[in-house]
């Protein structure tokens, strides 16, 4: 399923089951999906629970008291609500990139009329992130070998970042000139569409499904704003 993975904000578990778990089972990635979703939503979930359980304003049913801090039942309920929402969002996102290769997505968008230059920026960014992390890793190793420590107190760590991040950023910017010339020498500035070698297949039922999802989202939002969904817990 191509470009439409707009998560529902309405959030009940039903949506998760229908929109994330079912297709994941069909695509055979459910195990991976569960692991990655949990990993992805763990920090934010912990944060949500802690913050809301302990700091929920106006909570009256006290569950636990720890010095100046109290845990309330209202906070817990609210936290669970947020948790479900987070799960739905990160589930949808995880499913999206488990089933969609970035390259396919970009080619598909370009075929649908997105400018080749925007497509270039998108795919180059996706490849640049790991490349730059690798480069930072090399520089870190080199700096360590020269006796610069990246462990220790917070302040020392912050100071240690500068000689690592600095060369990465400036080195990358220094290459802009040559990359620019190399691209122009390969006809990059030619206006208009370019030839595509391949694009992902797009079957009829996928198209139908996509339209259905695209329609369902505004319907749900309208329904929620209009208050038709109050019967859902």
């Amino acid at each position: 399923m191509a470009a439409v993975a707009v998560g529902g904000f309405v959030g009940p578990l039903l949506l998760v089951a229908l929109g994330v778990v079912l297709p994941a089972v069909l695509a055979g990635v459910i195990g991976q999906l569960a692991r990655l979703t949990l990993l992805l939503s763990l920090p934010i979930a912990i944060s949500a629970v802690l913050v809301n359980v302990f700091f929920f304003p106006g909570g009256e049913t006290v569950l636990l008291r720890l010095g100046p801090i109290t845990a309330t039942a209202e906070g817990l309920v609210f936290a669970l609500e947020i948790l479900v929402r987070i799960l739905a969002i990160s589930g949808a996102i995880t499913l999206f990139y488990l089933t969609t290769r970035p390259a396919e997505l970009v080619v598909d968008l370009e075929r649908r009329g997105v400018s080749p230059r925007v497509a270039f920026v998108a795919s180059a960014s996706v490849q640049t992130v790991p490349a730059m992390v690798e480069r930072a890793g090399q520089i870190t190793a080199a700096q360590r070998a020269r006796g610069l420590d990246t462990e220790g107190s917070a302040w020392r760590r912050v100071r240690g970042i500068v000689p690592i991040v600095g060369p990465v950023i400036l080195g990358a910017i220094g290459e802009v000139e040559e990359r620019t010339m190399a691209l122009e020498a390969r006809g990059f500035t030619r206006p208009g569409r370019r030839t595509l070698l391949w694009w992902p297949p797009d079957s009829a039922w996928e198209r139908v499904l996509r339209w259905a999802v695209a329609l369902a989202v505004p319907v749900l939002i309208v329904a929620r704003v209009a208050g038709w969904l109050t019967w859902l817990p």
């Binding site: 304003p57 609210f78 960014s125 730059m132």
Partner: protein, 368 residues
């Protein structure tokens, strides 16, 4: 040209108007304590941001209808800018993710690339860099560099890019080295006045009812700590700023500070309603504890996210603008000059003439 601007303006007004009437939430009324309706103000900023983005689309469409191309826009997208943008997006994502995940501090550092592109290439590439960064960060980049929340803030990132582009275009980031003491002094005073005014305004408007620095009735330990922390931050800022200004003797430091504080305030206004409505104030980052603290003190969720934003964002954007300024200073003059907006980042101290000219400035090099 004029038609385009008028069309964009009309679109902006229409969308803003419709948005405010239909979705603006003024039902909470004005709080007699602060003379302020925080929920109303929150949706206000978000609607204006959306209207701004739509107005830009209208501008582009009208230009296309008129001329059959996007010349005034595509001029800002030469190959050099296109090559820089992926790098900038990678800076944003990597630094933002590293700061958000590893260091639990209430700033983000996820807009260095956006502001760099804005300054060098212009408002529109800046906006696109910010927007794409946040979208890719959520939907395309695989873990561990993936953030579930970034895409919701894409509009904020776009506005940051626009502002950076405008500051760059206005020449705010051009070096002004070795100015006389008098200028530096004046610049410092003006910058401190602007920052102080904004801080005072924000404090009285948004924080006054929630907590007071050193209120004798305040029994809450957390708030005494928070008060001290904020005070400390402020003192550190003033000292650091004055130090920089006079050590570097570069008047631009003052401009950088003002640009950062303004950008940060705008970003806070736009992002607060998103954080409140989409994520209930919880984003898994170091800023969460601030939000929680404000809610504990009695703010509702809308106000709490705004209070957090107005605390974190100006500091964050100031640090970011300063970093970008350092990067620009480290770049070769001729490299900067070739970007669409690069000549506005050069100091005027050097009388070297760029580009045109049949006879070079020095007699020795004249081609026969």
């Amino acid at each position: 040209m004029i038609v385009r601007w008028i069309a964009a303006l009309v679109a902006f007004l229409v969308v803003a108007g419709v948005g405010l009437v239909a979705f603006g939430n003024f039902s909470t009324g004005i709080d007699p304590g602060s003379f302020f309706d925080s929920e109303g103000a929150n949706s206000f900023a978000l609607i204006l941001a959306v209207a701004l983005v739509l107005a830009f689309f209208v501008y582009a469409v009208v230009e296309y209808l008129q001329t059959g191309s996007f010349a005034s826009i595509s001029r800002q997208f030469d190959t050099r800018t296109i090559v820089l943008m992926p790098l900038a997006i990678a800076f944003n994502i990597i630094l933002g993710q590293a700061v958000g995940a590893a260091l639990k501090i209430p700033i983000y550092l996820d807009s260095i690339g956006t502001i760099l592109v804005g300054a060098l290439a212009g408002p529109i590439p800046g906006a696109l860099t910010g927007f794409l960064s946040n979208i890719l960060w959520t939907y395309v980049v695989p873990p561990p560099f993936n953030s579930g929340i970034a895409a919701a803030f894409a509009v904020v990132a776009a506005v940051i890019g626009i502002l950076a582009g405008l500051f760059g275009r206005a020449g705010w980031l051009r070096p002004r080295p070795d100015r006389p003491m008098r200028d530096l002094f004046a610049g410092g005073v003006v910058a401190l006045a602007v920052v102080g005014f904004l801080a005072y305004y924000a404090y009285t408007r948004f924080y006054g009812t929630t907590f007071e620095f050193f209120n004798p009735d305040n029994t809450d330990l957390l708030f005494s700590l928070l008060g001290w922390l904020i005070l400390l931050l402020f003192v550190a800022f003033v000292v650091g700023f004055i130090g920089l200004l006079f050590v570097r003797r570069d008047l631009t430091v003052a401009y950088v500070v003002i640009a950062g504080v303004i950008t940060g305030s705008v970003a806070a206004l736009i992002s607060a309603p998103i954080a409140a409505n989409v994520f209930s104030g919880v984003t898994g980052a170091g800023t969460d504890f601030l939000v929680a603290a404000f809610r504990q003190a009695g703010s509702d969720i809308q106000t709490a996210t705004l209070q957090q934003g107005l605390l974190s964002d100006p500091v964050d954007k100031m640090v970011t603008f300063f970093t970008v300024y350092l990067i620009l200073n480290a770049m070769a003059r001729r490299t900067k000059a070739r970007f669409p907006q690069g000549e506005r980042l050069l100091d005027d101290g050097d009388d070297e003439v760029l580009d045109d000219l049949e006879t070079p400035p020095s007699p020795q090099g004249a081609p026969a």
